[in-house]
């Protein structure tokens, strides 16, 4: 089907999108910018419903078993959901080559073309690119720990003020630490390796178990999401929180949620940088509509708006050098971050995502060897 055919098929239709709706700024961007723009430009009604990772996978699995078409046309996913949806053959594609705006996507970038060590091969459309950052209060922590050794010393002096979540962000921290323990950037590159996992995860659990008595609630329990961690950071119960988005600290200070003394940084050993994507479901009713939505989301206008700190602060997936001069300048002059590090400062410490099985095993074993120990 040609793009003009896709456009005419999509016109006047409704597209159902399932996405995480836990951030007021992201919701505002979608509802106040994306939805009206899609309506006025393409006469598409975008209906957003709340749901993420496992909920999407469960929905697709159940619908597949029932032999029904998907209620959802597209979904916002990241690596582990991509892996799971591929496991159950739940994604439509490849389709990104058909999107006219995809010519500006930075597909040469390994942090964009590979998702949890799996080449995306056109099966999901890059939407944003972020790097894990540790957020701290500079008034309470003038000199934050830069590596695991310093962190162990810091928690001893400041008990109960540090923890990690057991959600996606917490697992990204664990992965970053394990890569660091294993020797850095390429140490866990490639497919899942049982031997390496056993060796380095053991060291990771040993590190955590030796220090967790100084963590929040003596390491007996852990927050189950990033939202309660942010809340505890905001009210002073924790001195650190974490975010998968390196622009998040600016965003949260602007919301008035974090104090102005908040700053963010990455460990010397690096933190994981990854992209998040839009996937179209295999049995979607409105594939054409979903493709038009994807194409709009990767347009320079939509990416530019999304990157503004006071809108969302999400990194672009576009190779800005392929845009015309005016747009290059516009992206270059986007307000610099005030509270978080500039992307250029932390790019050298960006670690690639490791195979999805590492995350699944870390999730299971963190419970087995740390929580239940």
């Amino acid at each position: 089907m040609t793009w003009s055919n896709i456009l005419s098929t999509a016109k006047g239709t409704t597209v159902n999108l399932m996405m995480w709706t836990g951030d007021a700024f992201i919701n505002k961007y979608m509802n106040d910018f994306v939805v009206p723009q899609l309506k006025s430009k393409y006469n598409i009604d975008l209906k957003i419903s709340a749901g993420q990772g496992n909920q999407i996978v469960s929905l697709v699995m159940n619908e597949k078993q029932a032999g029904k078409q998907n209620q959802m046309d597209m979904c916002w996913i990241n690596g582990e959901t991509f892996y799971q949806l591929r496991q159950i053959d739940g994604l439509y594609g490849p389709f990104t080559d058909q999107l006219p705006n995809s010519k500006h996507i930075d597909f040469k970038n390994q942090f964009i073309n590979t998702d949890f060590q799996q080449p995306i091969n056109g099966m999901e459309c890059p939407w944003g690119n972020v790097q894990l950052c540790v957020i701290y209060d500079s008034l309470k922590v003038p000199s934050p720990p830069k590596n695991l050794t310093e962190l162990a010393q810091w928690v001893k002096i400041n008990p109960e003020k540090f923890t990690i979540g057991i959600d996606f962000t917490g697992l990204t921290v664990l992965k970053s630490w394990m890569i660091s323990i294993a020797g850095g950037t390429d140490s866990l590159k490639g497919n899942f390796n049982e031997e390496k996992y056993q060796k380095y995860s053991k060291q990771l659990w040993s590190y955590i178990n030796n220090t967790k008595q100084y963590w929040w609630k003596e390491g007996k329990t852990f927050p189950n999401a990033v939202a309660p961690m942010h809340q505890m950071f905001a009210n002073g119960e924790l001195y650190f929180t974490m975010s998968n988005n390196d622009g998040d600290v600016d965003n949260k200070v602007l919301q008035g949620f974090f104090p102005e003394s908040s700053r963010s940084y990455v460990y010397d050993g690096g933190t994981i940088q990854n992209s998040h994507y839009m996937g179209i479901l295999k049995n979607a009713e409105n594939v054409a509509g979903a493709m038009v939505v994807c194409n709009f989301l990767i347009s320079k206008e939509a990416q530019f708006e999304k990157m503004k700190t006071n809108v969302w602060g999400d990194g672009t997936v576009l190779d800005v050098t392929t845009l015309d001069g005016d747009w290059q300048q516009k992206f270059a002059t986007l307000a610099a971050r005030k509270y978080g590090p500039q992307r250029s400062q932390i790019q050298s410490k960006a670690l690639p995502e490791i195979a999805a099985e590492y995350m699944i095993r870390l999730n299971d074993d963190f419970r087995k060897f740390v929580i239940e120990k």
């Binding site: 496992n54 909920q55 008990p159 609630k217 119960e237 239940e372």
Partner: protein, 284 residues
């Protein structure tokens, strides 16, 4: 004619209540044995073995039972105290205070407890202002704690008004006030009346709702989700985790736990009904 309408109502009940429940159980059984499921290949006992060999499931069952019994004991004891002291007027504007918690959704109640009792919560701030505590670290762990204190407090908060109203109604319908006057006239003390007459009568009359409330607490989800620890988790939280975490191969284990939970509840109901029948026979 009466017979026909009886058959109709029984069929309607079976269709509306039993059939969907039975279908769910059958689906869970088939899933747990590997007959259906996107990633299941063939019949297997492995999922059952994995669950039964893990200490996690037993801890979770014991923790749920502990929370259920403790919450029920505390709320029933306090409700008895209220009824004994006869301080509750279940009519008039004051009664709204007792009906209000009944209308609060579990998630809202859990959130309220979190905001009130957490380290940086309302109570901790008052204690700090009054110089009773030195700050967040000095305030005791009342939410996400080892003993499930936050969970128990929230369940007691939600259950207490229900039990007070329940006991109060039976107090009136069983004419316990008259019995009390009679027993006092015959020379007994208030405590003797409470222990020998009031408590046994009320417990006997409210046995069924108490048992059902215990099962309700056993299966609660939102309150332990927000206020509980990561381990042990209450049954519903554990099942949901197994069904929806990153490892898709854990899904059949979620169904195994759900089946075991259903069996436990059915077993409890069986004993409740049996003991109820026994007490009826004894009374007759």
């Amino acid at each position: 004619m009466k017979n026909r309408s009886n058959i109709l109502s029984h069929s309607f009940f079976a269709l509306l209540v039993i059939a969907p429940f039975a279908a769910g159980i059958i689906y869970a059984l088939l899933y747990s044995f590997g007959f259906i499921g996107e990633l299941n290949q063939e019949f297997t006992l492995q999922h059952w073995k994995n669950v039964l060999q893990s200490a996690e499931i037993f801890k979770s069952f014991f923790f749920s039972i502990y929370i259920g019994i403790t919450s029920l004991l505390i709320s029933v004891s306090i409700a008895f105290l209220f009824v004994m002291k006869r301080k509750i007027n279940s009519s008039g504007w004051m009664s709204y205070f007792f009906y209000l918690p009944l209308a609060i959704p579990a998630m809202v109640a859990a959130f309220f407890t979190f905001q009130f009792l957490s380290g940086a919560g309302f109570l901790s701030r008052i204690f700090f202002q009054l110089h009773i505590s030195n700050g967040i670290d000095d305030f005791p762990d009342l939410v996400n704690d080892t003993f499930g204190i936050g969970i128990i407090i929230t369940h007691v908060m939600l259950a207490l008004p229900f039990f007070i109203l329940l006991f109060r109604n039976y107090y009136q319908s069983e004419k316990l006030e008259t019995l009390k006057e009679l027993s006092l006239t015959l020379g007994s003390t208030s405590s003797q009346f409470n222990l020998k007459i009031l408590i046994p009568v009320l417990l006997n009359k409210t046995f069924a709702p108490l048992a059902l409330y215990f099962i309700f607490i056993l299966g609660s989800y939102e309150i332990p989700l927000l206020l509980g620890q990561q381990s042990p988790q209450m049954i519903s939280v554990l099942v949901n985790r197994k069904l929806s975490r990153y490892n898709l191969l854990d899904i059949p284990q979620g169904y195994v736990i759900a089946i075991l939970y259903t069996l436990l509840v059915m077993l409890l109901l069986y004993f409740f009904i049996k003991s109820k029948d026994k007490s009826h026979v004894q009374q007759a």
